[in-house]
Symmetry: D3
Subunit: 243 residues, 6 copies
């Protein structure tokens, strides 16, 4: 039933670690993808590093008193079992229906994820026990915190299935990048194209920024007209450090 | 992957066809179930009959431009394939994330469902081509209508899985009852208990209504105190038609 | 604790029965009152007559499992007791926090209100058992219908207190007018002023409408400039039927 | 400041009058346009005919007590002046910020629009004085009704400017089609392409519907595989009535 | 009219000061209480201590221009009078209808509450004059800040009545616990049971956390199976410091 | 088409720099203006200084795939051209329809605004590339951050037009004051009156605060009764430093 997790090439992680989610969403929009931004996934603390990893998905449906009980935590289909299936380096992406009054995970589950080498947790829901979760050191992107347990609002139904998270369709093994702005999804099939375009976009924008800092006005510069494109290309050629 | 559909005993259908969703939600609440009402599932026309059937579930996630395309309608995992798997007498329950600006089905899909003997369609989304859908004669409970096709907002991912619909967890083969108020879910495991309690509740409330029509005030009557309970029981004994 | 209900002069009822809620909100806005329209109070059926009456208020807070139970329906502070305190001719205004997934009243309570001569029911919530409620003949303005009982979402706490209904502050004995557009509140203290201005506004607008039907353009007519004001006054003088 | 209104070719009106908004949104999505459906624009009565016309836009901003007053109705920039600038045959599209507690127009303004030959009114807001507006015979698509005047929530600022309506960017003279489902926008530049594709899509879907009614299952039919495409083409060739 | 405030036993305060709101909501859910979490009550600053106290309730309805005026601040039923009725040690719980564009209190009222020994302020609304409120040192849990005075959106109507706050029914003298996650309510009648269960839950979870830190996987540990329960009990017995 | 920007008197800036937005909204409400608070305009960082300036408005409508493209950034009607028209000292007020999933500006545009001497940026939308924007030093008030570019959700249509921002009507050259609470608008025509009243209100409230700190209860003090008004006037006379 669940899709097998895949590893992500270290070169991909390294390349994307230097690219902002702002640049990635621009590049993806140019390829026709306008709905790849996971709404409501803010960093739990301001200093969390940019992360890159494959999505390991978890899926919730609403709570039903006969299903969402503390007893259900011991069932074979449980968040506990899902966590034990997470490979090191993945980013857990949890579809929580945008519920903000029941925390999907607290300190114990986050601690176990950290131990297993999970890179981070991204959800359109919230976590519980803020102090405890921060104590585990697991980087978390979410809508905030709420004390009630998940079963107060949600029933867990499976992992590594396609999910909705923050208004975006996330499939198992899609690539996720998160930074201070939040989380963006790169469809697995587009990965190579996106990386190439993103590195170029980052370089162009950093050159434009240097021109703005030097006092140039925006029209003709951003986006660059023919003359400025030529200037940029000359600069890029002279400063090519990509070897 | 998908749960096998089950038939529903004709006696169950007959018994529940005489019970309002208002009575059923009262009975379920007394058993501790407070979240079994599918929000946003209104009858498309005011004269649709009460329906009883097992849930055949369909699941959508949000649209992604690389996935939700007209071309996807031909894929093996498509709403088309799901419809061909629906047994006669089932109620299709479609989890559409509450999306109201993309219609999940139009006239063609509804016509095919009608042909296959599907009892009705219940969704927290909307349908498209109102005139066409009404023309098929398929009873529909939904949030309304919108012209855009499903792929403008949604990506179909599977059937007979647990879904969220109207804020309720619906599992394949749960029992659904819909009437002029909307749709209620009865967990399969509670079915017998609920039927017995519901028939008694209907009888009690109809007796109370007769007393109100006769001019009795509410306190002590609804719910009945000891004296009125005795009067009701005497009436019930004298009028027992259940044989 | 509760404010004593007051009767409403039959002349007031007669005068306001000829004035639309559109005219009343215009008149009240000219007096500086911009928030007197009870949002979400739509007629349950399209043919309900315009009603005028004093508000008899009921107040709910959210459900709490230890408080909002079927057993609570028998407590001294219950909707049942509140209904028995309603005088004939009042309009029951129920503050239901805008909750749309639990019906405040069903057929039995509406039947009793009808028997007691209550003029109508206005709420920012919903009713349950649509067929049953329509059967009682009680005119209802609300957000729609839902099957679950009030205790699935609400706890009743008192009557004839100040309440919030549809984003408006309603005090016991404020005057309510409802028609096909919905419900407007007239603060008791402004009643006489409002009636006089409203009758004049209705007369002016009906004259303007006759001019539009005769082909006059809007600028200078609505609102009328000096010349048109003079024409209107002449017409009004010639057609004064108010004795 | 305002864009000059343009007339719409009678042949365009005739062609589009036979095409549903469901078909148009499908055709536009295939051309990459996913956001052309004006949310919240429902027909005020169920029997309003399909309309086709160029958009004549009106723009509101929120109410401010020093600006949005009954006195402002007489200013040169007023809804009254805008109505006098509307050409016969246009569809007035009013950006009302989705405000549902202040009616943009009542009976007098709608009557004047009807007199001037305006084809219909489309808004993401509401109208006031339901009975009066219905009496004018002007077809209206909106979110419903509310009694308060526009100045209770809105300030009018101009006409024939780009506006937001129902989450869609509407530019003066874009083409609007409205039917029982609601309103769709066709960018003026895409008109010819859309008409051709829409007529073909309608024909294809009506053939598919005939096959469904004859009992064919959906996979391979909708969308048609190679064999069914061939069958359709043969049928279309044999039944070509387009001369 | 108002319920008399009650003191809270110092032992209760001490016991609950060591229990997180996450633990309390878990314990309450096990007792069947799923709706005791006050949504939208976030700490105004991250370093506010956990507080425990009885609720002293205040109730607002929406603003009405004839009622909600600066002059009303001097009326006998005013927030000022309510503050003077607050006992030391209470937690003021203010039902503000979730209004976020009018601040219920600013620096002056917060300063007076601090002087009177009020433990903290909890509301589903916002406060105004952030710098001023922080200057008073009163711990505040709320939805944020807004400059406009309460009368821009709210009318104060009474204190020590049942209220709605953050979607929860709060009765005078219910016990409130607030920490970094937000605010939870303990019904007065359940207090002793909850304390006992909460202390045990805290101890169990801290043992589980120690096991996770030691590398144990989750299944069978959280919740503990029979073997782990035995291990926990042995540890608990050996480490019982409760006397 | 665009309104010409106006400068703001340095004395106005100086006077208002000492007045909180809380005081200004109180003063404006007393003059009948209840809707001048721009909802959802929070400081991007907690330490941003209070700013005073005239509004330079920018207006967006929703995205349409044929209009909102990266290519559009080079059109004559672009955010780039708008920024080049901004005078030093203005506050850019951007109506972004409350869109939170597409950032209106990133580091490059903010850097250019900073270079041009723009005092600050206020929007009901969000910015993108948080780290980059903070690096420019431009003070920003907004709803938060999102990575996607503006064209993912918005189409830019013009500047120095009347706009909606945070539910408020903002006209070019209205005066804006922003501080830790958010942004308030002062209609240009009311400026002198508001300043005078605001300075007096600040002085009165600081005296009241001193009395509260000295232990005085609130009733009779805030607002002051006759005796306290006399005491205040005596203090004010003795401490008048404005002479």
């Amino acid at each position: 039933m669940e899709t097998e997790p895949l590893a992500l090439d270290a070169k991909v992680i390294q390349a994307l670690s230097g690219v902002s989610t702002a640049t990635l969403t621009t590049v993806l929009l140019k390829k026709g993808l306008r709905n790849v931004w996971l709404r409501g996934t803010r960093p739990l603390t301001p200093d969390q590093p940019r992360l890159v990893g494959r999505a390991f998905t978890l899926r919730f449906v609403p709570a039903r008193e006969d299903l969402a009980t503390p007893a259900s935590w011991g069932s074979p289909i449980s968040t506990r079992a899902a966590i034990e299936a997470m490979p090191a380096g993945c980013i857990a992406v949890v579809g929580a229906l945008g519920v903000t009054d029941a925390g999907i995970f607290g300190d114990i589950l986050c601690a176990r994820m950290k131990t297993r080498g999970v890179a981070g947790l991204v959800t359109d829901g919230v976590v519980r026990d803020l102090a405890g979760v921060l104590g585990t050191g697991l980087p978390v992107w979410c809508q905030g915190t709420a004390a009630p347990p998940s079963v107060a609002g949600l029933t867990f139904v499976g992992w590594q299935e396609p999910i909705a998270c923050g208004g975006v369709a996330v499939f198992p093994n899609d690539v996720i990048v998160v930074d201070a702005d939040g989380a963006v999804l790169i469809p697995a099939a587009l990965l190579d194209d996106v990386i190439a375009a993103a590195l170029e976009q980052e370089r162009l924008e950093s050159w434009i920024m240097s021109q703005v800092e030097a006092g140039m006005p925006l029209p003709g510069l951003y986006p660059p007209n023919e003359a400025n494109t030529a200037r940029y290309r000359a600069w890029a050629k002279a400063n090519d450090t990509r070897g």
